[in-house]
């Protein structure tokens, strides 16, 4: 599964060393992208030309959204299909996805994180 750097939009394959050490641009936040959506994402990335300032702002906003408990110096992989940040201040929310209790971020080993923002839904699953 590919990953995309939030800051510079570069794509990395699963297991790439950049995912562990951080992207060449210094970004440590990656979007997790499903293979079937990769082509769409590449097209969107070409169409929307975000300035560096916008990218930094989005990165900052995403950090604020997922909570302060994550370590900003470690690479973080986001599965943000439930929330799309089109540009700073413009958000699209997939409610069906959000209600489905799927985690927004995955923590893998070696400094990668999984933060289950919807962990309280676990209770429902156990019922």
């Amino acid at each position: 599964m590919p990953h995309q750097c939030v800051r510079c939009n570069s794509f990395y394959e699963d297991g790439a060393k950049e995912l562990l050490n951080g992207c060449g641009c210094g970004g440590k936040l990656f979007f997790f992208i499903k293979k079937e959506r990769l082509e769409d994402m590449k097209k969107i990335a070409d169409e929307i030309n975000l300035s560096d300032k916008d990218k930094e702002q989005i990165e900052q906003d995403v950090f604020d959204l997922v909570g302060s408990e994550i370590d900003r110096d470690q690479p973080v992989i986001l599965d943000l299909e439930a929330i799309r940040v089109l540009r700073p201040g413009k958000y699209e929310l997939d409610l069906v996805h959000l209600f489905k209790k799927e985690p927004l971020i995955f923590r893998l080993e070696e400094g990668k994180y999984m933060i289950d923002l919807v962990q309280s839904f676990e209770k429902f699953r156990k019922k």
Binding site: Y91, L95, F99
Partner: protein
């Protein structure tokens, strides 16, 4: 004999514990439906105080608000609950909408971010609820993706629901249309702002809490 005493003590302790677990009543719905206005109405009626601030600009409530131990009485019955007012649930949050309402860009972007987080929090809280009041704006189309998603998810979780068709004081309000959209639910037309039909709403609360 010891067993009898022990089971008696257990029963008493369980009784106390049960009473301590407060019934949680959640207010859910799209932005600007009047959730906080209704929360304020309930708090004013039974506690004599307000709960939160209201605004014409959408997404005024961006954090989950809780008011504990509200006791309401109707026809000799009493119901005590914790009232949970939640941020409005939306599929699209755009700072430009706030700018149109006269907000500065930086403030509008911050509001959009907080509102997005608010949606996540509202959904997170859903499983904590014992019953939910869905507050809809009766002047607007009731068949939206947000409304249908909220109603469907509550149904899937077996959480008792009361639907309020708010803003009945406005000319454009169409309570019957909301009732037709959700025929399997008790839909009560009210004006949270002016308190119209509020007694029937309190009756409805007893019905979903019982």
């Amino acid at each position: 004999m010891i067993n009898i005493v022990r089971s008696f003590i257990n029963k008493v302790l369980r009784g106390i514990f049960k009473k301590k677990k407060n019934f949680k009543l959640g207010l859910y719905g799209p932005p600007n439906g009047g959730k906080t206005t209704l929360a304020n109405r309930i708090c004013k009626d039974w506690l004599g105080q307000d709960m939160g601030t209201v605004s014409n600009i959408a997404h005024e409530t961006r954090e989950v608000q809780i008011k504990e131990e509200i006791s309401i009485k109707s026809k000799g019955k009493e119901l005590t609950f914790n009232l949970v007012d939640t941020p409005g649930i939306a599929t699209k949050i755009d700072f430009e909408d706030f700018i149109k309402s006269g907000m500065k860009e930086k403030q509008a972007k911050e509001r959009a971010k907080e509102a997005t987080k608010g949606v996540i929090d509202a959904i997170k809280w859903l499983d904590e609820m014992d019953a939910v009041v869905i507050v809809l704006d009766a002047t607007k189309d009731p068949y939206t993706q947000v409304n249908v998603t909220i109603v469907g998810n509550l149904q899937a979780r077996n959480i008792p629901v009361l639907i309020v068709a708010n803003k009945s004081d406005l000319k454009k309000a169409d309570i019957k249309k909301v009732q037709a959209a959700y025929p399997q639910y008790n839909v009560i037309g009210i004006s949270a702002k002016y308190g119209n039909n509020i007694d029937q709403f309190y009756e409805g609360l007893f019905a979903i809490a019982g």
